[in-house]
């Protein structure tokens, strides 16, 4: 029983520790366009895992109008997002998790 409680606590703790959920999903949830749509737009432009992650990290570190994949209408409505406050390590963690959740590999039947 003690073990189970300990495991539960650990799991809850690890959820709380997800940089992606805390720092990305939390904001995007409130937006009319869901976070997965951004992923597919990135995929449409960058194709591979490395290219997508690099482009995303580059954008998050220094978001500009030129680099965004946002459609013009949305860009006018929401504007360019602010620079990330995450350090490189956390940013990479968040992007990696984002990739793992929405990647196409292994999902097609």
């Amino acid at each position: 029983m003690v073990k189970k409680i300990f495991l539960l606590c650990f799991l809850v703790g690890s959820i709380h520790a997800s940089v992606y959920k805390n720092n990305c999903v939390s904001c995007h949830e409130k937006m009319p366009v869901k976070i997965d749509k951004f992923f597919y737009r990135y995929l449409l432009k960058y194709s591979s895992e490395d290219a997508l992650k690099n482009a995303l990290i580059k954008y998050l570190k220094n978001p500009t109008k030129e680099k965004t994949i946002l459609q013009e209408g949305l860009l006018n409505r929401f504007g360019v997002k602010e620079k990330t406050t995450l350090n490189d390590k956390d940013l990479k963690k968040a992007v990696d998790e984002y990739w793992e959740i929405y990647k196409i590999f292994g999902k097609l039947k």
């Binding site: 997965d36 597919y40 995929l43 449409l44 432009k45 960058y46 194709s47 591979s48 895992e49 490395d50 290219a51 997508l52 196409i104 590999f105 999902k107 097609l108 039947k109």
Partner: protein, 393 residues
């Protein structure tokens, strides 16, 4: 047996021509192979280009389906399949996203290509639906073009090959022309010269025979002997040359010839010549050995061997003649023949020793006769010591 020796070529020249012909054939085969490969590749490209348009159309159809899937990926995750083709999608790092075919080795540098019996088309969409940088279509190729290409290649290849061989033959004749002309010139010269020799030599020989040497004093008898030897040598030479130039007109009259008798008769004929050089002739002749052969020809063969044995012997030398069942040999104690020259000895106008007179036709005649009757002539020699010619059957 009829022979055309007037235009026959020497052994080494034949070898050169044979090498030339082999080289020419290799060159033709190589050339035709290159042309064949070029034609095959050209036809393959043509076939691929014909397929390219249709495959591009199918690829565009597939891209539209991928686009649809990309947009609705949260609702549908079934990869679009088509009975007309197999397909695969790859991201920009050439990592496979999904594939409906088994071939994992795709050549991304090509737009369309063949691998075994499959045709592959690689399409790069403008937008990477589902991350697709490369859409690969695989269709089975129609093998009828293969058959047509091979048919055309074999018909035209064989035709061209034959044409080139005929061309090569005429080229060879063109190359041979000066060589033939040179040999014909020499043959004609010898023919003309020998013709003029016949009458005076016969006159000398018949007149010597009529002289009774016993009634002459010793000095004069010696001189007459020398004239006799000289006349016989010229007569021999005349016969050799006649044989060589008229060989194709001589019809063999084969009979069973007792070799012991012939050899003894020819030794007697050469005794005078041998005595003049103080050469000792030893015989070891087995009796009752006969060959089915033209008498004149075997006489000519023996004459030439004996004549050489005397001519190329040293003063006070020896000649050992042996006749056994299956062979006879003439072994002299002469100046010998260098090892490297032995092979060329049977060629006309070849002489091992230029210091002694002659045309270099003696062994050529031996070779001709031996070849006609499938006799095997083997020369062994030690330079400056001895020469042994063995004729076996």
């Amino acid at each position: 047996m009829l022979k055309s020796w007037d235009t026959n070529l020497l052994q080494s020249e034949k070898k050169t021509l044979f090498s030339f012909f082999i080289l020419y054939l290799i060159f033709i085969i190589l050339l035709l192979s290159i042309l064949g490969v070029m034609y095959y590749n050209f036809q393959k490209d043509l076939m691929l280009q014909k397929n390219r348009l249709e495959l591009s159309y199918l690829a565009n159809e597939q891209l539209l389906k991928l686009k649809d899937l990309h947009v609705n990926f949260d609702k549908n995750r079934v990869y679009p399949r088509d009975v007309r083709f197999n397909s695969a999608i790859y991201d920009s790092s050439k990592k496979e996203i999904f594939s409906t075919f088994s071939n994992k080795h795709i050549d991304f540098n090509e737009v369309i290509y063949m691998d075994e019996d499959k045709i592959y088309l690689i399409k790069e969409p403008e937008s990477y639906y589902l991350g697709t940088k490369y859409l690969v279509l695989e269709v089975k190729s129609d093998s009828s073009w293969h058959k047509n290409v091979y048919k055309t290649l074999s018909i035209y290849g064989a035709g061209l090959f034959l044409l080139m061989v005929v061309f090569g033959y005429f080229l060879l004749r063109l190359l041979l022309k000066p060589m033939r002309e040179a040999i014909e010139l020499l043959d004609r010269f010898i023919k003309d010269t020998t013709h003029e020799l016949n009458t005076p030599v016969n006159a000398i020989m018949s007149n010597i025979e009529m002289i009774d040497t016993n009634s002459l004093d010793e000095k004069l008898a010696k001189k007459i002997k020398r004239i006799d030897i000289g006349a016989r040598t010229v007569s021999n030479l005349y016969q050799d040359l006649t044989y060589l130039t008229l060989a194709h007109k001589i019809v063999s009259n084969d009979e069973d010839v007792n070799l012991q008798e012939v050899i003894e008769e020819r030794i007697e004929y050469f005794t005078l010549f041998a005595q003049s050089r103080k050469i000792d002739i030893n015989c070891d002749l087995e009796e009752n050995i006969s060959l089915h052969i033209d008498r004149k020809k075997i006489t000519k063969l023996i004459d030439n061997l004996l004549s050489n044995a005397v001519k190329y012997n040293k003063i006070k030398g020896t000649i050992n003649i042996r006749l056994q069942d299956g062979y006879f040999e003439v072994h002299d104690s002469g100046r010998g023949i260098a090892q490297e020259k032995i092979d060329a000895m049977f060629e006309r106008y070849t002489r091992a020793d230029e210091s002694v007179g002659g045309f270099g036709i003696g062994l050529s005649i031996v070779h001709m006769i031996a070849e006609e009757y499938t006799l095997h002539v083997k020369i062994t020699s030690k330079e400056k010591k001895w020469t042994k010619v063995r004729v076996s059957w």
